[in-house]
């Protein structure tokens, strides 16, 4: 019995030990990838340019959303339609439906647009990174790179980070634009509120600083997504099926990481009680 307990304890510590090792590997990978960001893009300029094109438009098979722009636009549009519908319902409770523009200015800008755009990015671009790097890993192409004295990590991961950094700004702005339009359509055309009232409150409460901070959020998430998905692809094992499983694991990790970082950034940017200065109530 005691022997069993000792063995179980040992197994548990071994599990913990393995977990710590896995985390260590992950963190080391991230640091090495980030450390090469300053020089890798300059050295592999063509490669980065090709990746930017690939990220922005993707292998645009129409059914998979017609490239990244299409996916981000569609998902942001659909999600923000919900903001319009649910926000209107919520404000209807207290008879303040004219304030629907406020919902769009605040919820879309601060939370929803960055979250949805980055989840779309993870699904479309991130999973693509995992698939590419995983396929390279199991067909020994990464080892081939190393044997040709090309440092695979800067060449594969840091360039992808640079490309994601460049592409995310226009992509995210497209998503934000889609969000604003969708909420307005939902409130004005579906719920039948007057457009003028909506626009008045929307423009009154949309702060330029909020748009800037939401862009910061989107860029941070894009870096996060790139790193996590590249990690799982870079260390994929177990044949073709292993690549697929790595894609799933990467998506799981990146979605959870995005929501946690989103919470932290929200609290950092707007504090525990986000206020709308334009409302005049503090």
């Amino acid at each position: 019995m005691a022997d069993l307990l000792v063995r179980a304890a040992r197994r548990r510590t071994r599990g913990l030990f393995d977990l710590l090792v896995a985390w260590g590997v992950q963190v080391t990978f991230y640091f090495r990838a980030i450390a090469s960001v300053p020089f890798a893009p300059a050295r592999y300029r063509k490669h980065v340019a090709r990746l930017v094109a690939e990220i922005s438009f993707g292998s645009a098979s129409l059914l998979a959303g017609g490239g990244t722009i299409g996916v981000i636009f569609a998902m942001s549009f659909v999600a923000s339609t919900q903001v319009g519908l649910e926000g209107y319902r919520g404000l209807d409770l207290i008879g303040l439906t004219p304030m629907s523009g406020l919902m769009s200015a605040m919820v879309n800008t601060r939370e929803l647009a960055p979250l949805v755009a980055s989840i779309a990015l993870a699904a479309k671009v991130g999973t693509g990174f995992t698939a590419q790097l995983g396929a390279m890993r199991i067909s020994d192409e990464i080892d081939a790179l190393e044997s040709m004295a090309v440092r695979s990590l800067p060449f594969l991961v840091s360039t992808r980070m640079a490309a994601a950094f460049i592409s995310v700004v226009p992509l995210y702005l497209v998503g934000l634009f889609a969000s604003y339009i969708a909420t307005r359509v939902a409130v004005v055309n579906l719920q039948g509120q007057s457009g003028g009232t909506y626009d008045f409150y929307f423009q009154l409460l949309l702060a330029p600083s909020d748009v800037g901070l939401s862009l910061v959020k989107a860029v941070v998430f894009a870096m996060l997504v790139t790193l996590v998905h590249c990690f799982y692809g870079y260390y994929a094992t177990g044949g073709p099926e292993g690549v697929g499983r790595a894609a799933g694991r990467a998506l799981r990790t990146s979605i959870v990481a995005i929501t946690f970082v989103d919470m932290l950034l929200t609290l950092l940017f707007w504090g525990l009680s986000p206020s709308l200065p334009a409302l005049g109530v503090q």
């Binding site: 017609g66 919520g90 989840i119 698939a131 799933g248 979605i255 929501t259």
Partner: protein
Amino acid sequence: MALETPPPRGPFADAAAQAGMLVVFSVRTARAGARALLGRRLSWRECLEQSWFLASVSTLPAVLMTIPLGVLVAVNIGSLAGQLGAESYAGAVVAFVVVGQAAPLVCALMISGVGGSAICADLGSRKLREETEAMEVMGLSTMERLVVPRVLAAILVTVLLNGVVMAIGISATLFVHVLLGGSSGGFLATLTTYSDPGGFLMAEIKAGTFAVLAAVVSAFKGLTAKGGPSGLGDAVNEAVVMAFVLVFVANTVLTELHPLLLPPKGEF
């Protein structure tokens, strides 16, 4: 019997071909499901194993994702309601947001992202190893043996997960609400006033629908994969993207249909 992707003929033709094949595949899945259930030859073991697998990969991330979302909802809604002088309505809004939208969508992301990629990788690797053809040769229907159990497992797991996510989401929002000095009594009072069984039922219907969409799309993508590891990687990628987009669209459609299907309790 197996669906073969036609050779590429430009983006529009490809998209149309894929869409058509997906429709055919869905119809076949439904027929196979009916056959398996009516003919009492559904492989329960496969269903159970898949359910266990899906639950084990998606529960923890769903919980981990719900907690920060709950905090965000509480912080934003609480402060907004406070500024409009309507603190006591925070609970009602949380009921709308968490039960109506956030919980089903968290489940959708989990089942289409995590579950869907796993289903697609599993079936795709079987396809690449020609196991599916071997099954067909031996007279076993891949639709009945592989696809139907996975779809049923996805429905079961997502519907159950949805309940867990709702409970955790509402608890997290209540916790933050009280932490920020709100009253728990007011929160719970409006929560129970404005949430109704219909809303809960709708959320579960949503979750089930999302599960069907995600499972069918990823099974389809897996069973039509070709071209070695990179082909399978692309298949998983496309499966996840398609499932996400479809699920988001389905969410809007179902939200719009909600008042028609299940009239909400009274006039707000």
